[in-house]
């Protein structure tokens, strides 16, 4: 059925980004033409676009009675104009296309002073019948200041060459910064319970925010994860600000109580462009790669494609590295404790949520907290310092699911939190799937029933 269009739809995607509003002509059964502005024409695939359905109006009546329509779109930088012949197919009110459009529309509405007025009722899906390049004066295209294909190539090579998860994350963030000129980025992993994401690496923020959590469905990142689709916003909008989204979700459900709230999410106070791309291992959602910028319209369709390509490599690599880390050599049973000095420090663990405090300072909770507590107990009561991923996996106290990516990611999280918050305990990798706990001061462990009163 797909007929080849004389101009490929993906060649004019820049015209479908809501920068210059499109116009849509329809016709009533009695032959009366109608023309209206459309906030958003969204590229779905090479044969389909989706138009934002915001109001019940004549356009709506017309396309339901007579599905033929014609859109006029413009290139935002060159003013090049195209007429797109369309055939209305259906309206979607949920799902990836709807959520992508809803997020983008929130940015457009905010930028043009229409927040609260523009509300997406549906994504009207149209088949593209033809594309006509309308003659007229066009400005020269701006020379590209980066080549995304070349960047993807180098990023992919670096990702594939990474020897462990920590270096993989660094490779991605380095690549985004040096090759794609993206200076604010974070990587989040889907938590074991599947209801939230936690930050495992970030770049470009005063506080790394490693360990911070966001519920599925909250903000750009949470929606991208829930809908398993990239979400891209080209202007500043409060509606999808993750800090606000997280706050809004608080108190709404049981998850709020369990969510990591002690560690603030990193992020720009006023991102003008945001792009969140899911990371998959096969068909399973593993996490989200998120980038943002203080510039309007910083990320286009090409940037989205580039990040999707990199995220695909990352997903495959995460799976391979996690597998490899499970097949480690046994830990060295003879490695003993190293000498400690200084005043004794009390480390508390609250059983209800596995939150751990070093002295009075909160460190971590949840799975990473449980891991840390197991390590400390083995250190204090059995004088052990060398550990393997494998033994953590089978330890019933840690309650890890069979799926393996998270163990390595949780260890990275613990390692980074210690590096940021504690100057006498650290975790050192000693080989594939093996690591050492280094403690520099005498410690006393205290278990507390219930939750920390904070």
């Amino acid at each position: 059925m797909p007929n080849r269009l004389p101009i490929a739809l993906d060649a004019i995607r820049e015209c479908l980004d809501g920068t210059i509003p499109a116009q849509l002509a329809t016709c009533a059964p009695d032959g009366t033409p109608n023309v209206t502005y459309v906030s958003e024409v969204h590229f779905v695939d090479g044969q389909h676009v989706a138009l934002s359905f915001q109001f019940f109006n004549k356009t709506r009546e017309n396309i339901l009675a007579h599905p033929r329509a014609t859109a006029l779109v413009n290139h935002p930088d060159t003013a090049a104009r195209y007429r797109i012949g369309l055939h209305y197919l259906r309206t979607e009110t949920a799902g990836p296309v709807f959520e992508s459009m809803k997020a983008k529309l929130a940015g457009i509405a905010s930028h043009t002073g229409m927040s609260g007025v523009f509300r997406l009722r549906g994504a009207d899906i149209y088949r593209v019948l033809d594309i006509e390049h309308v003659p007229g004066i066009e400005l020269p295209t701006r020379p590209a200041n980066r080549n995304l294909l070349a960047a993807i190539r180098v990023c992919s090579q670096r990702v594939t060459a990474s020897v462990d998860l920590a270096s993989l994350f660094e490779a991605v963030l380095d690549g985004l910064e040096s090759l794609c000129d993206i200076h604010h980025a974070m990587i989040l992993m889907l938590a074991e319970q599947g209801d939230r994401l936690y930050t495992v690496a970030s770049r470009g923020y005063a506080q790394s925010g490693v360990g911070s959590e966001i519920p599925l469905g909250a903000g750009v990142i949470g929606v991208a994860a829930r809908e398993r689709t990239p979400i891209r916003i080209t202007y500043l909008t409060n509606e999808y600000a993750y800090s606000r989204a997280v706050r809004a979700s608080m108190g709404a459900d049981e998850l709020a109580a369990k969510l990591e709230t002690e560690i603030p999410l990193p992020g720009l106070a006023e991102p003008r462009s945001q792009l969140a791309v899911p990371i998959f291992g096969g068909s399973r959602l593993l996490g989200v790669l998120y980038v943002e910028s203080p510039e309007n319209r910083r990320f286009g369709y090409d940037d989205e494609d580039a990040l999707v390509a990199v995220a695909a490599q990352v997903g495959t690599a995460i799976g391979a590295l996690a597998q490899a880390a499970e097949h480690s050599e046994p830990a060295n049973p003879h490695a003993g404790r190293t000498p400690v000095s200084g005043a004794q420090v009390t480390i508390r663990r609250y059983a209800e949520n596995d939150s751990v405090f070093i002295g009075d300072d909160y460190l971590i909770k949840g799975v990473a907290g449980a891991i840390f507590w197991k390590l400390l107990r083995d250190y204090v009561y059995e004088s052990r310092t060398e550990f393997t991923n494998r033994e953590l996996r089978v330890d019933p106290a840690i309650r890890l699911p069979d799926v393996s990516e998270n163990l390595e990611a949780r260890l990275i999280l613990l390692q980074r939190r210690l590096a940021e918050r504690c100057d006498f305990v650290r975790i050192e990798k000693t080989g594939r799937g093996r690591f050492r706990l280094c403690v520099g001061r005498p410690v006393k462990l205290v278990e507390v029933a219930g939750a920390a009163a904070r």
């Binding site: 032959g31 009366t32 502005y37 935002p76 007429r83 043009t112």
Partner: protein
């Protein structure tokens, strides 16, 4: 009919010549619609006649349709405020440009560019949207028989003056 009030009141007549974004649509014998951007607009002194100006090379199908059935819809939108109205007619016909039309179009273009710049959008792109060779222009004159508010919001779609 002639004694009826014009569809456009003074405010709306002034609005559509104030450098707004103008787009017109027509349809063929199979009710397939077509659409083109107009570069300017004139309203007669009695507000009964509206003339929009379109570059012929961009509007081949639309001009054929107007010639064939005289149906036309025209939408006028101020980008910075989203204020929008739509006019409908069944008597659209070609009209030659009058001597001062080019000056009128140039003045409307300047206002259009200035308005779009309020949205932090580059003026040169706005200017390119309505750029044209003067010899390419044709007028399409019509008597609107209906006018609708189309500003996004609860009153969108209501007849003007309702």
């Amino acid at each position: 009919m002639d004694m009826a009030l014009p569809v456009l009141d003074e405010a709306h007549a002034a609005f559509i010549v104030s450098g707004v974004s103008i787009v017109v649509a027509a349809r063929d014998a199979h009710n397939a619609p077509t659409v083109v951007r107009a570069v300017g607009c004139r309203v007669s002194a009695d507000r009964r006649r509206v003339t929009v100006f379109v570059p012929r090379p961009q509007a081949a199908a639309l001009l054929d349709d107007v010639r064939a059935n005289r149906e036309l819809a025209a939408v006028f939108c101020q980008p910075s405020t989203h204020r929008t109205i739509q006019l409908k007619t069944r008597d659209a016909a070609f009209a030659a440009l009058e001597p001062d039309d080019l000056a009128l179009i140039a003045a409307e273009t300047d206002l259009f560019v200035a308005d779009i710049q309020k949205l932090e959008y580059p003026g040169e792109v706005a200017r390119a949207l309505v750029a044209h060779a003067p010899d390419d222009l044709t007028g399409i004159a019509f008597t609107p028989h209906a006018a609708f508010a189309q500003t996004p919001g609860p009153r969108a779609g209501e007849p003007l003056g309702a």
